[in-house]
């Protein structure tokens, strides 16, 4: 069974890559999404057979919860994706992308909490998260958690801005200095998770990462949002790839990293198409109302 599941993941990964390749040409683009969709269905069905899930103590409860969650999340996304106007597509991409980042962060949370719990009850009394997971899994898990969480809250802000629910582009004075400090503190808590077994550290770490995602995105002007969404798209891919390593899931690693690198390049191409650099998109709108106004006008224009 394990071999069959791995084979299904391999075929799914190949379908994703071929699908994306076809989506990069107008003639074959429509076939591309069908192929990628087939890969997703295959991988999802195969996962229901996974021995990891079937051997769990609470297998019937957990499988029931999985089906309910897929029905609710998928149903809502299907409904909202079908009825949204064509011009509102970019913010829907932002929202679905944020959901993916949040899912990656939540996977990391389950693994980290489980490890901290086991470490706290370890006989030696001084075991850490890293001891429980192993250094490589702990590092990639924590990195995936921070990237996924930033992508989650950042994408929600991007959605709110594009949807006209949030118009301000300044939160605090010296936003970039604060962002840099916040990023350092968040990373510090990430390191602290690695070396301790404290649940509080994990919770504070996630809260800080959530705020960081908001702070990074709020100053960006409306017209630049597609570039930012593309960047968060790449970041989510990276987070998914890292969490794929944590779970030992090859399909997640391949699909995630392919999206991570393709998304990074796409971000650059989109910025270039607007005669901007990615750094300029991030830092230009800040502090200067003129730049923000130009961005707003451009947003109306497009």
């Amino acid at each position: 069974m394990e071999t069959l599941i791995q084979a299904a993941y391999l075929i799914a990964a190949a379908l994703f890559i071929l699908g994306l390749k076809q989506m990069s040409s107008p003639v074959t683009a429509r076939r591309g999404i069908l192929w990628a969709g087939a890969g997703m269905v295959l991988a999802t069905l195969a996962t229901f057979m996974s021995p990891q899930i079937l051997d769990s103590d609470q297998v019937s409860v957990n499988i029931g919860l999985i089906i309910i969650a897929i029905a609710l999340g998928g149903g809502y996304a299907w409904y909202s994706g079908k009825k949204v106007a064509m011009t509102d597509m970019p913010q829907m991409i932002a929202m679905y992308n944020g959901m993916g980042g949040g899912a990656a962060a939540a996977i990391a949370a389950v693994e980290l909490i489980k490890a901290s719990n086991e470490a706290a009850h370890d006989v030696t009394g001084s075991a850490t998260v890293a001891d429980m997971l192993g250094a490589d899994v702990a590092v990639l898990g924590i990195l995936g958690a921070i990237i996924g969480t930033i992508s989650f809250s950042g994408s929600i802000i991007a959605w709110a801005k594009l949807d006209g629910r949030l118009n301000r582009s300044k939160l605090l004075p010296m936003q970039h200095v604060i962002n840099a400090l916040l990023a350092i503190v968040t990373l510090g808590f990430g390191v602290a998770i690695y070396f301790t077994n404290s649940l509080d550290t994990i919770i504070i770490f996630y809260l800080l990462a959530l705020v960081l995602g908001v702070f990074i995105t709020v100053p960006v002007g409306g017209a630049d949002m597609p570039v930012i969404i593309s960047l968060f798209n790449a970041l989510t891919g990276l987070a998914v790839g890292f969490e794929g390593y944590v779970l030992g899931n090859a399909a997640m690693i391949i699909a995630g990293i392919v999206v991570g690198s393709a998304g990074s390049l796409l971000t650059q191409l989109m910025a270039t198409a607007m005669n901007r650099s990615v750094a300029n998109v991030f830092f230009a709108g800040v502090g200067t109302d003129a730049a923000a106004a130009t961005a707003q006008t451009a947003a109306r224009g497009s």
């Binding site: 799914a12 683009a29 429509r30 999802t44 149903g75 994706g81």
Partner: protein, 101 residues
């Protein structure tokens, strides 16, 4: 399972693959392709299912449930939106897409 050097090779080759498949894309396909790659990282659903499937405590089940909920939203929503965008690339009205970004 997948460890050490083998994982690094997978990371490296997947990175090159992603770069290569995007390198010659026309501007009108930027947004659909972003949407398409957004769908592809919906594979996180599979990981979320495993995370919920192996959950032992109620707290883990709650977080795992949220993970599956969000992952399913990513996968399904990404598919629907991409499919609708690419509807516009039927051979007859290929130019209707214009320069939407």
């Amino acid at each position: 399972m997948i460890e050490g050097l083998a994982a690094i090779y997978i990371f490296m080759l997947a990175g090159f693959t992603g770069y290569e498949i995007i390198s010659k894309v026309p501007v009108i396909l930027h947004t659909p392709l972003m949407s398409g790659s957004n769908f592809v990282h919906g594979i996180v659903l599979v990981g979320a299912m495993v995370a919920l499937g192996i959950a032992e405590t109620t707290a883990q089940q709650v977080i795992g449930f949220i993970a599956v909920l969000l992952g399913a939203g990513n996968a399904v929503g990404g598919y629907v939106v991409t499919e609708r965008m690419l509807e516009m690339f039927r051979p007859s009205d290929k130019k209707a897409k214009g320069e939407d970004s």
